[in-house]
């Protein structure tokens, strides 16, 4: 079943604030086997010019994935989650994510198209700090494999 094209252009405002914790950054860095001290040690981070530990470049997948899952769960969109795969992903950072950041994420459906029986949906998330300043833009292309 093709996705409902009228969803193109829809936006989903932030539903909550995500506060970035030192321990969550540590856990994420450990899970990818990255031992860089700026992810673990506030002193090392300050020595590198940051106000607190920073997060690895793909850390925001944590809130990005949750936002995508919320969008695709809308029954009116007509997306079969069990057939969905992640096609591509990008992050464009204005600055690194720091422990203590209070982030708000706004999601947009940028595009929906059908090609060779598969549906493609591009979801953009604008992630801003509590003062409204831009931190990162995430883009994901989701592919819903056609019924074979």
């Amino acid at each position: 079943m093709a996705l409902d094209q009228s969803f193109i252009g829809r936006s989903y405002p932030p539903t909550s604030i995500y506060e970035v914790a030192r321990e969550k950054i540590r856990e994420f860095a450990e899970s990818i086997g990255d031992e860089h001290p700026v992810y673990y040690d506030p002193e090392a981070a300050r020595a590198a010019g940051y106000r607190d530990v920073i997060a690895p470049p793909t850390f925001l997948t944590i809130i990005n994935l949750a936002a995508i899952n919320a969008v695709v769960a809308d029954p009116e969109l007509g997306l079969d989650y069990s057939r969905m795969v992640h096609g591509d992903q990008s992050f464009v950072h204005s600055r690194p994510v720091h422990a203590g950041d209070q982030l708000r994420l706004t999601t947009h459906i940028e595009d929906i198209m059908t090609r060779a029986g598969n549906d493609f949906m591009t979801v953009r998330a604008d992630i801003a700090d509590i003062d409204g300043s831009h931190v990162c833009t995430s883009r994901a292309q989701l592919v819903v494999r056609g019924e074979s």
Partner: protein
């Protein structure tokens, strides 16, 4: 830091085992069963449990941030997920081999680094690149 087109970054090899997938699932809050449940993975047509594409992407980021020294200088990073990394239920898991080189140096001094990720000799990420400054 001055960047030279063609400069190759030190390569990185990462052994991805099932316990790594479980750790990553918990850290990234990605509990899709295709990444931990063999029965489910096979039901949906996969040969076995596969690694999270986002885990492979994160590991590919390390080849760049290890080389940069300051990870905050990686400002953009993107890739396509083109082939699954199948992770068997043993102590060896799957070996992913990353290489990277500087593909472009821009007027503002930033550079684009192209990253290659291979599993069993085949690329698993497409158009993987990072912008560094």
């Amino acid at each position: 830091m001055t960047f030279q087109v063609g400069e190759e970054l030190p390569p990185l090899q990462v052994q991805v085992t099932r316990d790594r997938l479980v750790r990553y699932a918990g850290a990234a809050l990605d509990f899709n069963p295709i990444h931990w449940n063999e029965r489910f993975a096979k039901q949906v047509g996969l040969p076995d449990v596969i690694a999270h594409g986002m885990l492979t992407m994160a590991l590919g980021g390390r080849i760049v941030t290890d080389w940069l020294g300051d990870p905050g200088r990686l400002v953009q990073y993107g890739c396509r997920f083109t082939r699954p990394v199948v992770v068997p239920d043993d102590d060896k898991g799957a070996m992913i081999e990353f290489t990277a080189k500087i593909a472009e140096v821009r007027e503002d001094g930033s550079a684009r680094v192209d990253i290659t990720a291979k599993f069993e000799g085949k690329t698993v990420l497409g158009k993987a690149n990072a912008v560094v400054r």
